[in-house]
Structures are given as C-alpha cells and as structure tokens.
C-alpha cells in the first residue's frame, strides 16, 4: 500500500524513550570499568613548567601526552589542536592529562592533589586584540586561522560612483549548545583493537582522529554511537578529543574507561558558537537602488582552529542574505584568541551573517524612509539570479508566496505600521526575517571530502537493513531514513531496520551535520532502494545484532555522485557553494518592559521551504525546536568571559528557554520539490534557527525605534541603546 510520503508516523524510538529504556552512554556498564577525570588548564595562556603528581594509589593511572602512540593532534582541518597539552596551554579548560581509577571520588581526590607550575604568557581575549596582534601570536604570524575574499562585479567602482553609502556594524556573542545529555564516551581495548562507544554525531570523524592519534591501521579502530541526547553541532568535532582520551586510557590500563562530563565541565571546555563582528556597507545610486555591498566578517575562533575555516566560509556565503546585489566584496577572517575553541553549532556561521544583513537592511530602509519589507522584497533574489559566489539559483525561489502567507498569518504589515507610530506605555514591535540555508557541505565538500557511501541489505525474511554512518541524535533520522527506504521499496516501515551506527558495519556516509542527512544520504538510500527492489547483488552472510541477525540475500551500495549542474572553483570561491537552498520567513512579535527592558515574545510565525516533507510531525518538531533555540540566542542566552573564564558555568547562570518563555508557534511548510533530494526533500534542521534572532531583533527595533546591532538583545544592552538615543 502506497502512503503519502509526508504522512506522520510515530517515531520508531519513541516507545523506548518514553518508557525510560533507551540506553545512553552514561547508562552503560562494562566489566572492570574505570572512571576518568580530566586535569585542565587553569590559565588562559601559559608554558607548563612542571607537573607534580603525588604517588598514585593502587589501581590509579595518569594518562597524558606520553601515552599517545601516534600524532598528538586531533584530526581536523588544520590539525593544530593536541589531544593533551604539550608544553603550552592556550585556554582555560584545555586538557592536560587524565586521572583514571576504579573509584570516582578517589579519582577526584588524586586530581585535586596534582600541582601544575605555569609560567604565564600574555593572553589575547578579544577579536580586536587578536587582529591587532601586538602580543606574541597564538597562531601563525598574525593570529589568523583563515582569511578569504570574494569579489563579484566591480564593487570599488560602484562605491566610487555611489550617491550614498550606508554602514552598520553588528556583533554577536557566544552560545552554548546545552544538549541535555552531557558529552560522554567509553573506551574499550580488547584483542589489540580499541572501541569507543559514545554520544556523537560523526562516527567516522572519530575513527579518523583515532587512526591518526594511535598511528594504527584502521582495522584496529571501531566507533559505536550510543543513543545521543541532543548535539546541535556540539558533538560534531569536539567528541573526537574525548574519544581519543578514553581510547588512550583504555589501551594504557587494559580496562574499559568511562569519560563523562558533568554540566559545569561541559560548559567550560566544549566548543561554542563563534562570536562575530560584521561590518556591512551598502552603496545606493541616486534612485536609492542598491548597487554594491561590502561585508567584512570577523570571527573569534578561540584557541584552536577546529572547523572555524568552514564556519567562516558559510558565514561569507550568506553575507548578502537573500538579496540580489550586483557588485559584492566579502572579506572574512577568523582569529585565534585564548578563549575556549569555537566550533560547529546549528546554522554554522549562518545565524551571525543573517542577523547582520537582516538588521542592516531594516535600518537601511528605515534610514531612507522606506518600508523595510517593501525595500527587502524589491531587492530579493529569485530564480536565475546569482548567489554571493556567482552560482545561479536554478530552482524556484518561493519567497514572495511565503511572505504573503506569513503576512496573512501574522498581520505583519498592519502591526508594523501601528507599532512604529505607537507611543504607548509598553513598547510593542513586530519583526520579519528572510533567510536561507545552503543544504549539505560547503563548496565541493560532498564530492571531494566526503564521498558518501550507503548500503542496503535485504535479508531472506524480507527485512531491509539501512547501513549508514548518519546518527539519530533527536532529529528523527532513524525514522525519516526508514520511511524513505520503505516508500522506495513499497515496504511497510516496520520491515526496514536501522541501528545506531557501528563503523565495523556501516560504510562512511559522512558526518551527521550540515542539514545533509535527508537530502544527501536519504537520496542515496532512495537510489539504493530502487536498485535493491530491482535486483541488487548477492551479499555475504553477515551479522548486525541479535535482532537482525540472519543471512543476507541481497545488497546494494550507492556512492555520492555530484549533480552535473554544480560548478565550484574553490580558489576564488566561484560558483555553486551549495547544491541547493532551503528558505524561510520568520515573524516575531514582542513587547519590551519600559522599566526593566525585559523582552516578552507575544507571537511567532514561520513559513519554510524545505522541499518535500518526509514526515510532517518530525519537521514541525525541528522547526519549533530550532526557533526556540534561536530565540534564546537572540534574547537571553548570555555567555560572558572574564580573562578567559566563562562566567556562566551552570544551568542556573546560563539560561535556556523553558516552557514559559515563548507562546505557541504557527508554522507552515511550503512544497517545493528538489530533484536531487529523496522525493524532493531538502535540508531542514538548521534553517529555523537562522531566522529567529533577526526576527526578534527587528521586532525590538520596531518597538523601541532604535537600531539593534548586538546579540543577545539583553536588557543591559537595551538600556544602553535607549540612553544613547536620549
């Protein structure tokens, strides 16, 4: 029986999760397991002169840089971050060594008796100081991890000939993921092989990192994902570090080693969203048409590069937002500081860029006495137009219909007018953001870096197994991918099996990131399913788990093939930065307390184009959750540092949204099938995050009639802005 593909079904993992039977990493026990705790740098920048370790109690071990058989670098883009500090530490919380032992309290006791003698160096804490570089450089000669420039058309000339140029500078702060389940892994060493179990997004990133850290053949390394309690990018690159720690410890001690963070440790030492400073300058001709834009993006990468170069690229490729700008110059740089490393987080540079461009467009329109929405719509991209990098938008851009729809749902225009003229006691405002997310890896990443492979096996009993490295981390992929295969093969969903990935069993379908799982991996699965249905090849007998043991009848492997239309020149950042885009329009209505400047959200509306919906309920959950995270980022998720110390190291200090914060959200999904996505689906997970902050900030701007240029929009900031205006 053929179901409509978007019909919502109950998530396959719901019964075990509601029942309390899902097994997360902290719930796992191994015979003889030891506990590990990390000794971390207390200094933001220092030379380690000596480490004084008291006599260890029986059964306790210290594991450090000397226990790494291979290269003491976590495999990443620039390979600059050590697993354990060598002679220098570069941020507070940098791992120096592990203490491992059978009793947790004893381990903590031993750890507190270790003395590290530091010789402090002059630290760098701000982007501005990193750029200045008047202290010893942290990275390279100028602290700059990566710098790029994109030029399209002749921006210099356009600025020379402009009737006027309007500028703005926008800044955003740190954000912490606060996945509810803290980071955790268990390393096991058996028969000359090491296995890491853990909460993660990217089993093969970890495997590759361990291969480099051990210098072993890859056959000796195995990575198994356990039920993952949220990730949002926080378990993308970071987890490789602790996987290394637990694995080195397991090999040294010959026992399983468990390394699980408590909340404070998780907040202090894991990656954060990159803080940014973005300057935008727009040239207008005498008819007040936009002729050029110059955008300068500067990110705080923290102490090590991690994924910063790609985060920067994604921010740059979103620099001019959804607008059709004839002449463009975008300059981007990410700098090293002695702060905790910044890393992947939902949106991956997009949220910073879209906040800046959306606020800029609103302020620009208001400063030339134009209606912001009219002005935005006049300049909006449509099919056939060029992206920042000069790629052609090949598919229909449905933004006009989406804006129409959100207008009907929210009454945006009427309210905007009413609020802008309103001088009532309690300022009210409404804001609208228009945005996109480039689906899948940036540039030629899918083709050159990832080359995803997926496998399907069909057993004699007719059941089909999905073998991919893409994880379920809450976003629903274990259900969505099953639906795709079931639909392609005309099978009931119950006949399609998906297990948490184990690198001994699944091929490398790439990391679970970049809104690529459904669009890229799902599309490969659909193709594989169609071939399997038609025949497939004979498979060797195999064994997955008890539940799905049995001789395989047929198997099919599918490998990523780039759609022919994609053209990308990486040297100059020219062409199609992404295979396609998902689009969104978000409206937020607020009121601002006139005394405390606390923002109250009164309404949330969103319209999204993510191609075809595979499961409507799952997608709505993604949209709602993404909006809530984005609004937290916008309004109150404050994370400050003082000399490299994070000042909000607990959930009492770092406030994330609770059930009371936001009213109900009204969400609509627009159908716009993409030919290279399964049944037309595009990327979805990151998109809703991106629009929330600019929508909220524009609403505040509408309410207070002052330009908003900072995230988060805290009462302290609003007080300053309001006073500055007086």
């Amino acid at each position: 029986m053929k179901e409509k593909v978007d019909r919502s079904i109950n998530r396959i993992d719901a019964p075990e999760k509601t029942g309390g039977y899902a097994e997360y990493i902290a719930d796992m026990k191994f015979e003889g397991m030891l506990y590990a705790k990390t000794l971390r740098s207390e200094k933001p920048r220092a030379v380690i002169k000596s480490i004084d370790i008291p006599l260890l109690p029986e059964g306790c071990y210290v594991v450090d840089k000397n226990d790494i058989p291979g290269k003491n670098r976590v495999k990443m883009l620039l390979d600059d971050q050590p697993f354990f500090a060598e002679d220098i530490v570069n941020y507070i919380g940098e791992p120096i060594l592990l203490v491992v032992g059978p009793d947790r309290e004893q381990v903590a006791q031993v750890l507190s008796n270790i003395r590290v003698l530091y010789e402090e160096m002059e630290p760098v804490f701000t982007i501005v100081d990193a750029v200045k570089c008047d202290k010893a450089s942290i990275y390279g000669e100028d602290n700059c991890f990566s710098g790029y420039e994109i030029i399209r058309g002749d921006p210099d000339r356009a600025f020379r000939e402009a009737a006027e140029a309007i500028e703005g500078e926008y800044r955003t702060g740190l954000q912490e993921h606060i996945y509810l389940e803290p980071q955790g892994v268990i390393g096991v060493y058996e028969n000359e092989r090491v296995t890491v179990y853990g909460s993660m997004q990217c089993p093969y990133y970890i495997k590759t990192a361990l291969v480099q850290g051990f210098g072993w053949d890859e056959e000796r390394i195995r990575v198994v994902q356990t039920t993952t309690g949220g990730a949002f990018g926080g378990k993308e690159e970071y987890t490789s570090i602790i996987a290394g720690h637990a694995a080195f410890a397991a090999v040294k001690t010959g026992r399983p080693v468990r390394l699980i963070f408590d909340r404070a440790e998780d907040i202090i030492c894991t990656t954060k969203r990159h803080p940014s400073i973005i300057k935008i300058k727009t040239a207008l001709d005498k008819n007040r048409k936009i002729t050029a834009m110059e955008v300068e993006i500067t990110l705080d990468g923290g102490a090590y590069a991690g994924l910063s170069p790609v985060v920067l690229q994604r921010a740059m490729f979103a620099a001019t937002g959804v607008y059709n700008i004839p002449n463009i110059k975008v300059k981007g740089r990410v700098f090293a500081t002695n702060n905790v490393p910044s890393g992947a987080m939902r949106g991956f540079g997009g949220p910073q860029a879209f906040f800046a461009i959306e606020m800029h467009m609103q302020s620009l329109a208001e400063s030339i006495s134009r209606d912001p929405l009219d002005f935005k719509m006049e300049n909006m991209l449509s099919k056939g137009d060029l992206t920042v990098t000069g790629g052609v938008l090949r598919y229909e851009v449905k933004l006009p219909q989406m804006i129409d729809l959100v207008e009907k749902m929210s009454g945006y225009r009427r309210k905007y007018e009413a609020f802008i003229n309103d001088r009532g006691e309690v300022p009210k405002g409404i804001g609208l953001s228009i945005f996109y997310h480039g689906c899948a890896f940036t540039g030629s990443g899918e083709k050159e870096k990832i080359r995803a492979r997926v496998k399907l096996k069909k057993r004699k009993d007719g059941k089909v197994l999905i073998l991919v490295a893409s994880v379920e981390m809450g976003q629903g992929s274990s259900t969505t991918l099953r639906k795709i295969v079931a639909r392609a093969m005309d099978l009931p969903v119950e006949d399609v099996i998906y297990e948490n990935p184990d690198t001994d069993i699944v091929p490398d379908s790439g990391p679970t990131v970049a809104s690529r799982t459904v669009m890229i991996v799902g599309f490969l699965l659909k193709k594989a399913a169609e071939r399997l249905k038609a025949g497939g090849e004979k498979a060797a007998d195999f064994k997955v788990t008890e539940a799905c043991e049995g001789p395989a009848e047929l198997e099919v492997t599918e490998e990523y093939e780039e759609p022919g239309y994609i053209k990308w020149g990486h040297e100059k950042f020219e062409g199609d930065a992404y295979p396609t885009y998902s689009w969104g329009v978000n409206v937020v209505e607020v009121e601002v307390d006139p005394v405390t400047f606390v923002i109250k959200v009164n309404g949330i509306w969103g319209v999204y184009d993510i191609g075809t919906i595979i499961d409507e309920r799952i997608i709505r959950g993604q949209m709602e959750g993404g909006i809530a995270q984005g609004l937290g980022y916008a309004a109150f998720e404050v994370m400050n540092t003082d000399c490299g110390n994070i000042l909000q190291p607990s959930l009492a200090d770092y406030i994330i949204p609770n059930s009371k914060e936001f009213p109900e959200m009204e969400i609509r999904l627009i159908d716009n099938p993409y030919e290279y996505g399964p049944f037309g689906a595009k990327g979805a997970g990151e998109l809703p995050f991106i629009g929330a902050a600019p929508a909220l900030a524009s609403a505040v701007q509408n309410a207070l009639k002052v330009p908003i240029k900072r995230l988060p929009v805290t009462p302290e900031y609003l007080l300053k802005v309001a006073e500055g205006e007086k």
Partner: protein, 155 residues
C-alpha cells in the same frame, strides 16, 4: 549506611554513603531511566516521585528517601503497556533526543493526578522545571493535553 528503598513497588536493600544523593543511588541500582542533566537542580531530567511528590532526585539525600515510595518513569508503564501519557508523548511527536522525556512524563503524570483537566497555562507551569533543548515544548504541551483528554475519556 543501609536502607530499604521502595522503587516502583519493589523493595531493595541498599548500602550507601551518608552524603549520597538519591539520583546516584537510583542510577547505581539499575534505575538508569532517571537521567543526570546537571546535578544542580536546574534541568529536571532527574525527577522522580517521592511519596507522590515530584522532586529533583539530585537535590535529595538518599537517606531521606529511605522507606518512602519512589516512582520513576518505568514505574508508570512499560513498552508493552505504556501509560496513556507515554503513548501521548509518542503519538504527538513530543520526543526527540529523549533525554528530558522521563522527567517530562513524570511531571505530566504528577499534574494529571491532581488536575485531570488542566488549562494550557497549568500545563506550562507544571513542566517549567523540566528543560528540553530539542522540542521548543510545543509538542510536549500538546502531548499532555492529549493524555489528559484520553485519560478523562477512559476513566
């Protein structure tokens, strides 16, 4: 110290340190459905019912829970015969990563025991000590409404 703990209707005898918190005692004795999200009393993923009252088990000394009725999410239903609240969570998409879910389900259970027909603001209030980073709470609130309705209709 030693004590008898009544967990989901079963009594177990456990020895524990005098300063141990209930969360650790439960997790060490197989109740891994009680989650640790913060240990600071801020997230609600560790909640259990203690003599029918919802408490953050990371903020309760194990000693003070000895002899009392402790109920965890496994105590109100199981995979084969889930409690209506558990089914409603599954049916309305209120579960994503699932880490907050045991706590959320218990918070809802506690509410519906006292108030079988809660208003939306009462539901929001009842779960405001339970953090969820995935869902934005929309579907969780919906799930509690559905559960309440089903429970009223089926007595």
């Amino acid at each position: 110290m030693e004590g008898i703990f009544k967990i989901n209707g079963k009594e177990i005898k456990v020895s524990f340190k005098s300063d141990a918190v209930l969360l650790s005692l439960l997790r060490e004795n197989g109740c891994t459905e009680v989650k640790e999200g913060c240990r600071e009393g801020e997230c609600g993923s560790c909640v259990v019912l203690l003599d029918g009252r919802l408490v953050n088990s990371c903020q309760v000394f194990a000693a003070s829970a000895a002899g009392k009725e402790i109920t965890t999410v496994r105590g109100i239903g199981n995979i084969h015969s889930p409690h209506p609240i558990q089914s409603a969570f599954a049916d309305s998409g209120a579960v994503q990563c699932g880490f907050c879910t045991p706590g959320m389900v218990l918070a809802a259970y506690c509410l519906l025991k006292k108030n079988p027909d809660p208003r939306e603001d009462e539901i929001i209030e009842a779960i405001d000590g339970n953090l969820c980073r995935c869902t934005g709470y929309v579907k969780i609130i919906e799930a509690v409404k559905i559960a309440a309705k089903r429970m009223r209709e089926n007595g």
